[in-house]
Amino acid sequence: MSTATGPSARGTFLGMPAVPPRSPYGTGHLRGERTFPRAAHDELGNEQLRRNLGKATHSIRAKRLDVTGELPDWEALRDAGSAIKTDTMNRLPELLEELERKVTEHGGTVHWARDGIEANEIVTRLVRRTGSDEVLKVKSMATQEIGLNEHLESQGITALETDLAELIVQLADDRPSHILVPAIHRNRDEIREIFLRQIPGVDPALAATPAELAAAARAYLREKFMTAKVAVSGANFGIAETGTLSVVESEGNGRMCLTLPETLITVMGIEKVLPRFQDLEVFLQLLPRSSTGERMNPYTSLWTGVTPGDGPQDFHLVLLDNGRTAALADTIGREALNCIRCSACLNVCPVYERTGGHAYGSTYPGPIGAVLTPQLAGMHAAKDDPNSSLPYASSLCGACFDACPVKIDIPSLLVELRHQHTEQSGTTAEKLAMKAAATVMKQPKLFTAAQRAAGLGRVVAGRSGTFSHLPPPFRGWSDSRDTPAPPKQSFRSWFASADGAAAMRAAAQDGARHTDDDSQEAQ
């Protein structure tokens, strides 16, 4: 890995360029209304959510291990993926200009949006131009992030989600709870109820089986696909070298939207660009295997601008900043931008497994969401900013780092974000971590032991592996002991050791005495 480490030189030199602005406060979906411990506390009361989520994360996790394990070069692919993304960030200006040139050469139009507000306005203007007041949507995190559907609605334009899970969420007037399976918090009976209530003309005898429910959605959306004039999509990748865009999906709703309407508008975060067409050979292996645990997802579409006689004849690409350049200006944020949104880190996270996605308050939940969200939208924009609690929504156990196909060291990034937060707020990281932990993990002392073992080495030593910037909460700890930084051992390997077992037993006894106090604090 060759990402820049060491302290950033913020404010040191005269003439240092300004920090780019974060996503504007109060727009889009990059901030919840409640802090993580509070939101998590409420979500924990939802038994259905926890059961479904547990089933989902465990089953996807098992599939992912199977299909990554069958590739002898999996680690080499991760190394390549990580390096390609680092290279991409280093060369972002030239790559974006190259992408723009290639898309334009092939008959597309490129738009740039400083933030979500501007992107929403661009899309609205383009939709209006088609004369249509309805657009079809392919599931897209970028448009969810900027609140496009709500904005279009306010302008008298109906945006219809076509991904089955997103459709369920939309019809229920709900929010997605998982990147990959957004309606995982709903069961089949609930979905049947939602369909009966919301889909005009649906058969009242509709059975609550996945097959029948999917068929009902197929019938409902088919007519829409056939008559829609305009569709909005996101993009998984945009290839600078050729101007090719790519959408990876399973159901075919993506293909429908990318192919049948006259006008296609694609909203893509600027970090989604890839340098070369050849790079697809890496990401088409990393993404599906990490994401759904499949060797390949059922459908992937690749298109370059406009093709006469095939597909939309009017193609627009909206390149979105919305806090991405602010993230890029930060060593933590830059690494977080490498994320390809596969959701592998969510599925292995013990905290996410208990709370689900809603507790994070952002379009981007789970371990990477806890890093990315404060980077895009800031964590000091309001008093008691809910985003400032996100770096504590983790046990730092390291499972997310092991799972990440582009090797983002999420635990270390979270620790650095905790530094940034405590430096500004004057509170202690440990207290805040305990608050989140007490809520989520039920046995906070066990959690503390885990955190000590896995995280303290990182907390104390920082990413550079030195003791140069000791954070306040640990100053006393290190002053009174002559201890080297513990090795970066994964929580699970430590847990399996005799040492780990003894520590956990001791912590459990200790925890039994203190649990009541700690859960009080979580309120």
Binding site: A4, D73, L77, L92, E97, P210, T244, N253, R295, T307
Partner: protein, 212 residues
């Protein structure tokens, strides 16, 4: 004049990058590339992966292509089928149902009247069971043709099947619209139970020509 959004975003990206080091990166491409497997092994691997994805697989030779395609169509009760303009007419020599030749002038929604479609393919990847369709090739047709009808009979020449993803991607023409298909349309959105067919074709029949 105030800066355009384009100028602003590009300047922000530049500024962001000058705030910290940008170490040179060489991408390590130590992963497997340039793999080749003997015909038999490649075929076995490909079939195994296709079946795993709930595709239906038939093998044939150049000489029996027409017979096997007809079998595949009949197996699903198709009566009216669509074909891309450049499909080899000999492939339908045994077919007595209705055939409509596609053209860009036909509005895509009209493809909904077809029971199925027969096309060729550009390249395939054995290791993942993926078929790549080149939307600009006359024997594969525009993208809507293989999307709207409920049955897709796709003919794959074994010589076009590559071992892994890098070997297959290397065969593509980037400027052409390309669709990668791995099994029929599927969703696991309801309680993670896999259901075949939401929007795309619910049935994928792959006819592999082993001597071509």
């Amino acid at each position: 004049m105030t800066a355009t959004a384009r100028e602003t975003v590009l300047r922000r990206v530049q500024d962001a990058l000058t705030r910290s080091d940008r170490p040179e990166v060489t991408v390590p491409r130590a992963y497997r590339t340039g793999r080749a497997l003997p015909d038999g092994e490649r075929l076995a691997l490909f079939v195994d992966r296709l079946v795993d994805y709930k595709a239906q697989v038939r093998t044939c030779t150049a000489g029996t292509t027409a017979t096997v395609i007809t079998e595949a169509l009949r197996a699903h009760g198709a009566r009216r089928i669509g074909v891309p303009p450049g499909l080899d007419p000999a492939w339908l020599a045994g077919w007595d149902g209705e055939v409509r030749t596609d053209s860009p002038d036909i509005p895509a929604p009209r493809l909904d009247v077809l029971d199925g479609v027969v096309t060729a393919s550009a390249v395939s990847c054995a290791e993942t069971g993926t078929i790549f369709l080149d939307g600009a090739a006359a024997d594969q047709g525009r993208r809507a043709l293989t999307l709207v009808p409920d049955l897709h009979v796709c003919v794959v020449d074994l010589s076009s099947v590559r071992t892994g993803v890098p070997e297959a991607v290397a065969q593509l023409r980037p400027e052409r619209p390309t669709t990668l298909i791995s099994g029929p349309s599927a969703t696991s959105d309801i309680e993670l139970e896999r259901v075949e067919g939401v929007h795309g074709p619910r049935t994928l029949e792959v006819v592999i020509r082993t001597d071509v």
